[in-house]
C-alpha cells in the first residue's frame, strides 16, 4: 500500500515536472512542418512529440479508446461533428483566443463547428486526380477522363482504396449530390465503377507519388498538395479541376478530452493562428490555410502553384459527413465492385 502511494507520488512529481514543457501532437502522416515545430519549441521551450495516423477513422478509434494522451489532433471537417457528438473534444472557445481575428471569413464559424467552440482551421485543399500529360494530351478537367478513360490511359489508372472519395466523385460526375441515399443513384455509381474497373491498374491510396513519377500509373486520384510534389518531380504531371465539381476538404485543430497539457495545446493553437507561422506549414505541405494575411509569407512556389487555384467557375463541393444509410450503400457498392 505504501509502495503504491509512493509510486503514485513519484508519478505525479514526474508528470507535473514534465507537464510544463510537453506537447503531444497526433497528426496525419507527412503533414506537419518540422520547421514549424522547431520554431514553436524555440519560442516556448515546450518539447513536442509527434505521432501520425493514416485516416480519420484511425483517429476516431484511438480517441474512442480513451487514454491516448494526445494534446492536439487534426480531424477533417466532415468528422468534426462526429467527434463532438461522441464527446471526444474539449471546448477551446477559439473566439477568446489570441489571433482568432486572423481566421479568414470562410473559415470563421464554419458549418461543422458553428461557433468555433472546438476547432480552428489547419489546412484545406481539394481531392481530384493527377494526369501524366505526356501520355494523354487531351482535356483533363473532367471526370470523363477518370471514369471513361481515353485509349491512352486505359490500364494506367490508379484509384483510392477507400470508397468515400471514389463514390463521391462518381456521384458528382453523374450529376448527383455527395453522400447519396438513393438506391437508383448508387446503382448507377456501381455500374459506372464496374465499367471503369477493367481500366484500373490499382486501388491504393498509398505510394501515389511513386506510381506517378515512375510511370506505373498515368492517372491517379490525388490531393492537390501531393500533386504539387508530383509536378516538382515531373512537370508533365498535372492536377485536374473537373468542371463537374471539385471535392474540397478542410482539416482542423482540436484538443481531445483527457489532454494532459491543455495549456500548451492552447499555446500551440495561438501560435498557428499567426499568419507567419501557418505559412511555414503551408509551404511545407503544399496546402492552403484559413488564416488571412499568410499569403505574403508563402514562398514563390506556393504562391504560383496552379494546383491551389482552380479555374474560375469550377464548383467546389465540400465533402460531407454521410448518413448511416449513405455509408451502407457506399459499402455495398464497394464490396460488390471488389468482390
Amino acid at each position: 500500500m505504501k509502495l503504491a502511494t509512493l509510486a503514485t507520488g513519484l508519478g505525479l512529481v514526474a508528470s507535473s515536472a514534465l507537464a510544463d514543457g510537453e506537447l503531444y501532437i497526433y497528426n496525419w502522416t507527412d503533414y506537419t512542418s518540422p520547421e514549424l515545430i522547431e520554431k514553436f519549441e524555440a519560442e516556448t521551450g515546450i518539447t513536442v512529440t509527434m505521432d501520425t495516423y493514416d485516416s480519420n477513422d484511425t483517429l476516431l478509434a484511438k480517441l474512442k479508446s480513451g487514454a491516448s494522451g494526445y494534446d492536439i489532433v487534426v480531424p477533417s471537417h466532415n468528422y468534426v461533428p462526429i467527434f463532438v457528438a461522441e464527446e471526444l473534444f474539449q471546448k477551446i472557445n477559439a473566439q477568446d483566443l489570441e489571433g482568432y481575428s486572423n481566421i479568414a471569413d470562410g473559415f470563421r464559424n464554419p458549418p461543422w463547428d458553428s461557433a468555433n467552440e472546438y476547432t480552428v482551421p489547419w489546412q484545406w485543399g481539394s481531392t481530384s486526380f493527377t494526369v501524366n500529360t505526356d501520355v494523354f494530351g487531351g482535356d483533363i478537367d473532367t471526370y470523363e477522363t477518370l471514369f471513361r478513360p481515353p485509349e491512352e490511359l486505359r490500364g494506367q489508372i490508379g484509384m483510392f482504396k477507400a470508397p468515400s472519395d471514389v463514390v463521391d466523385m462518381a456521384l458528382i460526375y453523374l450529376g448527383y449530390g455527395v453522400c447519396s441515399e438513393s438506391k437508383d443513384e448508387m446503382r448507377e455509381v456501381l455500374e459506372l465503377l464496374e465499367e471503369q474497373k477493367p481500366h484500373v491498374k490499382v486501388y491504393n491510396s498509398d505510394g501515389i507519388l511513386e506510381r506517378l513519377t515512375s510511370g506505373d500509373a498515368a492517372l491517379h486520384q490525388n490531393w492537390n498538395g501531393y500533386s504539387i510534389r508530383a509536378r516538382t518531380a515531373d512537370p508533365a504531371l498535372k492536377y485536374a479541376f473537373p468542371k463537374e465539381g471539385v471535392l474540397t476538404w478542410a482539416d482542423n485543430i482540436a484538443v481531445p478530452v483527457g489532454a494532459q497539457n491543455y495549456d500548451n495545446a492552447i499555446k500551440f493553437i495561438e501560435f498557428i493562428l499567426q499568419p507567419e507561422n501557418i505559412a511555414i506549414q503551408s509551404n511545407f505541405a503544399g496546402y492552403s490555410n484559413g488564416i488571412s494575411g499568410s499569403a505574403e509569407f508563402l514562398n514563390e512556389e506556393m504562391a504560383t502553384a496552379p494546383e491551389l487555384s482552380p479555374p474560375d467557375g469550377t464548383p467546389m463541393v465540400f465533402s460531407e459527413t454521410c448518413s448511416e444509410n449513405a455509408t451502407e450503400l457506399q459499402n455495398k457498392v464497394w464490396t460488390t465492385l471488389l468482390q
Binding site: D57, L60, Y203, K332, L338
Partner: protein, 293 residues
C-alpha cells in the same frame, strides 16, 4: 503446494493469453451479436444482422436475396492461403532438410541467414517486389533486353504476385519449425532406412517426412493463419482489385464503421482456422503424431 507446482510452468503463459487474448475475443464474439453504432462501436441491442449479411443482402430494390460476394471473398482468401502453404512446404522442406544436414556451425549460420531479411520491415520487403515485378521492373526489363518478350508481361497486380509475396514473407515460418524437428533426427535411422529401402526417395518418404511432420504441421499453421488474414501483400502486390478477408475486416473497422459485421467476419475466420487445425490434428493423429495432445 503440490497444486501450485503442477501449474507453475503453464500458468504465466496461460494467464497472459486468457487475460489479453481470450477476453478480447469474447468481446469480439459479443460484438458480432450486437447492433452497430453509426460512428463505430456497438449499441447494446441483440441483433443477428451481421451474420445474415454474410449470405443475404437487401439489394438495390430492397429484396432479400442471396449474395455471393462475401462467400467469394472467403473462398478466394482460403484458396490463396492454401496455395501459399503448399508452396511454403514444397520450398521450405528441402531447404530445412538441407540446413539440417550441414555441420553444426554452418547450420546456425544458415538459420540466421533466414531470419536476417526480417530485420527489414515487411512493408519495405513487399515494396521491393514491386520493383522486381512491375512493367518497368527487373524481370520485365531483363526479358525485354534478352528479346524473350516484345512487350512487358503483367506480373504485378495479379493473384500470382500476392502468393509470391506471401510465400516470401512467411516461408521462414515453415523452415524454422521443420528444421527444429529435423535437426534432432537420428542419422542412424536414415542409414538404416537406406539399407532397407535402398533409395533416397524411399528413405525420405518413410523416415524423414514422418519424423518432420510435427514441424510441417506447426509450420503450416504458422503460415496459413497470417496468410488468411493478410492485407499488406494483397493490397501492395494485388493492387487491391479483388478484396481479401483481411482487407474486408479492416474495412469494417475503419471506413465502413460496421464493428458487428467486422466481428462476425472475424468469428468466421476463427472458425475456418479452427477447422483447419482440426483437420491437421486428425491427419497428424492418423500418421502417428499429434498436434493436440
Amino acid at each position: 503446494m503440490q497444486r501450485i507446482r503442477t501449474f507453475a510452468g503453464i500458468a504465466p503463459a496461460t494467464i497472459m493469453v486468457v487475460c489479453f487474448m481470450l477476453l478480447p475475443i469474447l468481446i469480439i464474439v459479443v460484438y458480432s451479436f450486437l447492433e452497430k453504432n453509426p460512428y463505430g462501436g456497438v449499441r447494446p441491442e441483440l441483433s443477428f444482422e451481421a451474420y445474415s449479411r454474410l449470405l443475404l443482402e437487401r439489394d438495390f430494390d430492397d429484396n432479400l436475396s442471396f449474395n455471393p460476394s462475401y462467400l467469394l471473398i472467403l473462398f478466394r482468401s482460403i484458396w490463396v492461403a492454401a496455395v501459399s502453404v503448399a508452396a511454403c512446404v514444397l520450398i521450405g522442406f528441402p531447404v530445412a532438410y538441407y540446413i539440417a544436414m550441414q555441420p553444426a556451425e554452418r547450420r546456425n549460420l544458415l538459420i540466421l541467414l533466414i531470419t536476417i531479411p526480417f530485420w527489414t520491415n515487411l512493408l519495405i520487403r513487399t515494396y521491393c517486389w514491386i520493383l522486381v515485378l512491375r512493367d518497368t521492373g527487373l524481370i520485365n526489363e531483363m526479358l525485354l533486353s534478352l528479346g524473350v518478350i516484345q512487350s512487358p508481361i503483367p506480373l504485378l497486380y495479379t493473384e500470382g504476385a500476392i502468393i509470391l509475396g506471401l510465400i516470401y514473407t512467411y516461408v521462414p515460418f515453415m523452415v524454422l519449425p521443420i528444421y527444429a524437428s529435423l535437426e534432432r533426427l537420428d542419422v542412424r535411422l536414415i542409414e538404416a532406412s537406406r539399407d532397407l529401402y535402398a533409395s533416397r526417395i524411399g528413405a525420405l518418404r518413410h523416415v524423414v517426412v514422418p519424423l518432420s511432420l510435427p514441424g510441417i504441421v506447426a509450420g503450416s499453421i504458422l503460415v496459413f493463419i497470417p496468410c488468411l488474414g493478410a492485407f499488406i501483400a494483397p493490397e501492395l502486390l494485388g493492387g487491391g482489385k479483388n478484396l481479401m478477408l483481411g482487407s474486408l475486416v479492416q474495412l469494417q473497422f475503419s471506413t465502413s464503421r460496421d464493428w458487428p459485421f467486422g466481428s462476425a467476419l472475424s468469428v468466421v475466420i476463427m472458425i475456418v482456422v479452427m477447422l483447419a487445425l482440426l483437420f491437421y490434428a486428425r491427419n497428424a493423429r492418423n500418421s502417428g503424431t499429434e498436434l493436440v495432445h
